[in-house]
Amino acid sequence: MIKVSNLNAYYGQFHVLKDVNITVEEKGVVVILGPNGHGKSTLLKSICGLAERITGDISLNGTPISQLPTEKIVDLGVVYIAETRELFPNMTVLENLKLGAYSKHARPFEAQNLEKVLDLFPRLADRRGQMASTMSGGEAKMLAIARGLMSNATFLAVDEPSLGLQPNLRTEVFNTIQTINEQGMTILLVEQNIPQIAQLASKIYVLEEGQITFEGSKDEAVSDDHLKEIFLGM
């Protein structure tokens, strides 16, 4: 379980997150909705030790992690999957995946996890020798998710997995996330305005101007007039 309490994050002069509190239950899928540039990515990055400057508490199953460097957080099984993918362009798909298992606790499971992710993404198996820079947007997205899974994580922070994908690939990515969750992974997911994703959610938060403005189940979200208007366009 991840618990974020009174989190404040800063980007240079900007105060991006203001006293944010969220809880992600074990094996849950928590979705954070919100307009672009309101701090969703920063929230995920803060949890994974990638934000510039933060104050407040973040704990993983009771262990404080807010002051740990990213590599320690990855070692504890928390991994970030970037909206911008952040692959290694001049390395092959296989090398990218192997680097996904770089952290100490992932190394013993490298072979086993490789088999698992290639099973989950058969297309990557066909392209294991291809340079990451030559992949299409959808394939690169899958590689980014697969690389994250190689870390043997128990908690995935997924940043806008559907961004820039055509609808059928979007569905594929969401189905994959659902499968991963069913296999026992806890997922915190950020999306801008995709109603589709609400189907997966065990809990929804809305982040606007750096503050949580809504917290509730998907049924509550769907019946909230303000939310309907801004995100679901209904």
Binding site: P69, V74, E86
Partner: protein, 300 residues
């Protein structure tokens, strides 16, 4: 078949080629070390040439100063290379890394290493005096193949620096740390995400680059002299090779080093040694005008 003059000319050309290869191999070592630091840490080390001299002085202390008898250069390398590694690691960890947190850190690092270069060359003068020092050759004697004569010194310089480069290339492609170094060079943010301790990689990269240039210093100081104030011009030469090859490109640095080594040897033979530096800068100017990203650089 050939008259005597032609044969003599051929021998001379062979000599020039051998000199070009042996210098070129050391330049390759130096250029790869420099391009590595730039490619991975985005920092430019102005004290680079002074670490070349540091390698030379360390070897001098052991061989001449302490009169080391046992094992010759093998012992020297076993002692000096790890020492250089520690120096480079410490430099990054305690001096460069703290600056990295600030805005405009690249310029601060430039000033830091510029200051360090001045400090080191003056330190060398205080410790070793202004007189040039020389190192004995790794191996005396010559190897005769038919009529062609190779000095063992040139052969050893070539073999050892090439060995250094190949070892480095192997480590880069086949070890976990090597893969992490490449990952940081290609995408530092991605490297952080997969759990690579990029601070440690930065320091290790500085350390490896210091080892490479210092190793070059040990090798080349047997042919040249160790000069306490030559760091700047050595850094410039390493930089010209690196820029010609393309900043951040290891393969480019390797090709550039051999091209420049050969060019120097031939220019020196045809026009005289004082023209080599002119040729070097003509090449640099031509590179900057025609192909500013260098042979294998990716451009801005």
């Amino acid at each position: 078949m050939f008259n005597e003059d032609t044969i003599l000319l051929l021998y001379e050309i062979t000599d020039v080629i051998i000199a070009g290869l042996s210098n070129g191999s050391v330049y390759a070592l130096m250029a790869i070390g420099m391009t590595l630091v730039y490619g991975v840490t985005k920092a430019f080390n102005f004290a680079y040439g002074d670490f070349f001299n540091m390698g030379g002085y360390f070897a001098w202390i052991l061989i001449v100063g302490l009169g080391l008898q046992f094992g010759g250069y093998i012992t020297v390398l076993i002692i000096v290379l790890p020492l250089l590694f520690l120096v480079g690691y410490g430099l990054e960890k305690f001096m460069v890394a703290p600056l990295r947190k600030r805005a405009d850190w690249e310029n601060r690092v430039m000033m830091l290493t510029l200051g360090l270069a001045l400090f080191l060359s003056n330190l060398y003068m205080v410790l070793f005096g202004t007189k040039l020092k020389s190192l004995p050759p790794i191996m005396d004697g010559i190897l005769e193949i038919g009529q062609i004569v190779f000095s063992y010194q040139d052969i050893m310089i070539f073999v050892l620096s090439l060995g250094g480069i190949l070892t480095f290339g192997w480590l880069l492609n086949n070890t976990r740390t090597g893969m992490a170094v490449r990952a940081v060079a290609q995408n530092p943010e991605g490297a952080k995400i997969v759990g690579i301790n990029i601070k440690r990689i930065f320091a290790s990269t500085f350390a490896i680059s210091t080892v490479m240039v210092g190793f070059g210093g040990i090798l080349l100081s047997q042919k040249l002299f160790i000069n306490p104030t030559s760091g700047g011009s050595i850094m410039v030469k390493a930089w010209v090779v690196t820029a010609f090859g393309g900043m951040g490109s290891i393969r480019g640095g390797l090709y550039a080093a051999f091209i420049i080594g050969m060019m120097e040897a031939f220019v020196g033979w045809i026009f005289g040694m004082s023209y080599t530096i002119i040729a070097l800068f003509v090449l640099l100017l031509a590179t900057l005008v025609i192909r500013p990203q260098g042979l294998m650089g990716k451009g801005a």
